[in-house]
Symmetry: C2
């Protein structure tokens, strides 16, 4: 699980750094190439929290990274001011991360194509539904060797079933696959136990980068995100990392239902465990060859725990049970205009499982969708779990 | 992970049941042998909760189990009455599980040897420190083919270092090994996300039985504990099951420290994950050949989650940080005379790691001991984790 480490010589010029490497009889592809330009596509709560990290690391490693980090901002007027101008003048995202300073090398750019021009690393951190439109606008506008890293949690259900690979998987498509398909570039992912407000608060936490070309791209990506309080592990098993990030929200719904029903810690732990087991089975079914070890990374159990105790899906689903209101109503009341990903992902997962006749093997995922859709009572959740395949 | 299933013919006599098996061309060692006598050694909170389950299952399977379950009770006078008499007359353990009915086939016996006479299955559920004395009293007093199952969470550090096996392990000895060594019988273990009050309340939960002779003993033991609301998986990897049960209390101390320090969900999840990673490394070091899958059972992640959110070790360690009082003081104030296992286990683990020069590889376990012992400030915990071997 350990990742490669790059020698760190922060104050050396590129010339002297490569001399040092030659002296020690080694070369570094990072050190001898020109500094990478980084763009953050997105400026919401999580995007702004990650901008604080990326702004800092790019300044710390001038040999590897261009010190200017562009952040694409969807322009909004906030209290009579343009959000992009507030970010560039006062270094604060007053709408989505108020009270936290953004590094002054993070520059808001409102034109998407301009923000990505000549960029070597694109950090995708926008709501799921905007990915396709954004990528289509960038076709032909970025260098051919650009790489992307997605911080977006969710999956697509491709109803048109185009392409052999998604057909095999009942229509399942990962966000990283969607980006790769349109832009024809390598796409890694970053997932972990990372509630955005706590990351913005510099609380110690961990995250996992899933990177198929770990040896080539892993060291650079680790350097871009790894700080004293944001500890990165890099693994090759990128599909698993990404699916953990999507499916945990479904499990968190189940955890929220048990909280709403007042079932206590034992039941909640059983529900979380059975949800994790279904996640492992789901990954293994749709992406055979996943590594069990990956579920022990931050993207796996740690993110699952955080999400099932502190996340918004849990909160909404608890309220759904306690108030008897519709999911849409409780979302509106509790999430301040944001939506909960869990019920959406549960529906997509259900559709693809149903299509491939697998719903009976995933009783927890199936129950979450049916409860969210009003087709099953929350109190019936445990009945579905009593004869779980795990207990047979 | 699935366990064998035994055909269930609750209302058949032994004769007709064996006829049925012959008819279908199969035999069952369970069905053709005489019903097993079961004794529960212990009558505390957890022992009484488990007595409700065992009392029920033994009645449900008269072909497999003798319907009388003896429970060894350490006699106490409670409100002027003998505890054993209250249990036998009113079917309630008014001291350790008030308000819950014990099945009327659970019979309190105050003489240890008498309670185990002729018993085929001994369920050990007493505080760790009484195990040795109890076993020594039973030597020569139980049938040679008796088997035991331990529900006790903890480990021993054998300071005398007798025996090659414990010497190899820096003095580490499991409770199951201690029982086996003295009584020369097979010892399985049962661990899981099982806070006793919730089990007594019949809330849905899961547990794991670790049973080295899974094929021979697993089906009977599963039948003894498996109910609609207490779901059992049986695995062969018994050492891992038992060590998970002991080490989770150390991790829960670390989780309690982060709660006391107000670090939030991300940090707590990272601490729990790093604690789990140290647990896997510890098991692999001292008992090579453990199965990673076992950590996904209830005894692994599920129990860890429950303990780190709802358990007493977490609670005590949170208060230790918040109040600045000694561990002994907060235990006295919060645990109503009971003690927290975590600090004790942390010390034992530290001693054996230190002896084998391994403490640097287990920074979380080491920090927990040092904080409990007053040798390190709680706020230094995260500093110990920043350069965790997992991040290298």
């Amino acid at each position: 699980m350990s990742s490669s480490r790059i020698p760190q010589c922060e104050n050396s010029s590129r010339l002297s750094l490569s001399s040092i490497f030659r002296y020690f009889g080694t070369t570094s592809t990072i050190a001898t190439m020109s500094p990478k330009k980084v763009t953050i596509i997105g400026s919401g709560n999580w995007g702004s929290a990650i901008a604080r990290i990326v702004g800092s690391t790019t300044k710390s490693f001038p040999d590897e990274f261009d010190p200017t980090v562009r952040m694409w901002v969807f322009e909004e007027i906030v209290n009579g001011e343009k959000l992009s101008e507030v970010i560039n003048n006062r270094h604060e995202n007053i709408k989505y991360l108020p009270g936290k300073v953004l590094p002054n090398n993070v520059v808001a750019v409102t034109d998407l194509v301009e923000s990505c021009e000549g960029s070597n690393v694109l950090v995708f951190v926008v709501p799921h539904q905007f990915v396709k439109g954004i990528c289509e606008k960038l076709v032909g506008k970025i260098p051919a060797d650009t790489q992307a890293i997605s911080l977006i949690k969710g999956i697509s259900f491709d109803k048109t079933n185009q392409g052999v690979s998604t057909e095999k998987r009942g229509g399942l498509k990962l966000i990283s696959e969607e980006i790769k398909e349109i832009l024809k570039i390598e796409v890694s992912v970053l997932m972990g136990a990372n509630l955005a407000p706590e990351v913005a608060n510099d609380n110690f936490c961990e995250a996992t980068i899933g990177c198929k070309r770990k040896a080539e791209d892993g060291p650079l990506l680790k350097k871009l995100f790894h700080t004293d309080n944001f500890r990165i592990n890099v693994v090759e098993d990128a599909h698993t990392v990404e699916l953990c990030g999507a499916l945990k929200n479904v499990v968190a719904c189940a955890a929220g239902f048990t909280d709403g029903l007042g079932y206590g810690d034992n039941t909640k732990a059983a529900v979380i465990r059975l949800g994790l087991m279904e996640t492992t089975k789901f990954v293994e079914h749709y992406y055979p060859g996943s590594n069990l070890q990956t579920f022990f990374e931050s993207c796996g159990i740690a993110d699952l725990i955080t999400t099932c105790y502190g996340g918004r899906n849990r909160k909404v689903c608890e309220a759904f049970v306690k108030t008897g209101k519709s999911m849409a109503e409780v979302e509106k009341e509790l999430l301040n205009g944001q939506s909960a990903q869990g019920p959406l992902t549960a529906e997509e997962v259900y559709l693809m499982m149903h299509k491939t006749g697998l719903d009976a093997k995933f009783p927890l995922f199936t129950a979450v969708h049916k409860i969210c859709a009003g087709e099953m009572k929350p109190a019936e959740l445990v009945d579905c779990l009593r004869n779980h395949p795990e207990h047979m």
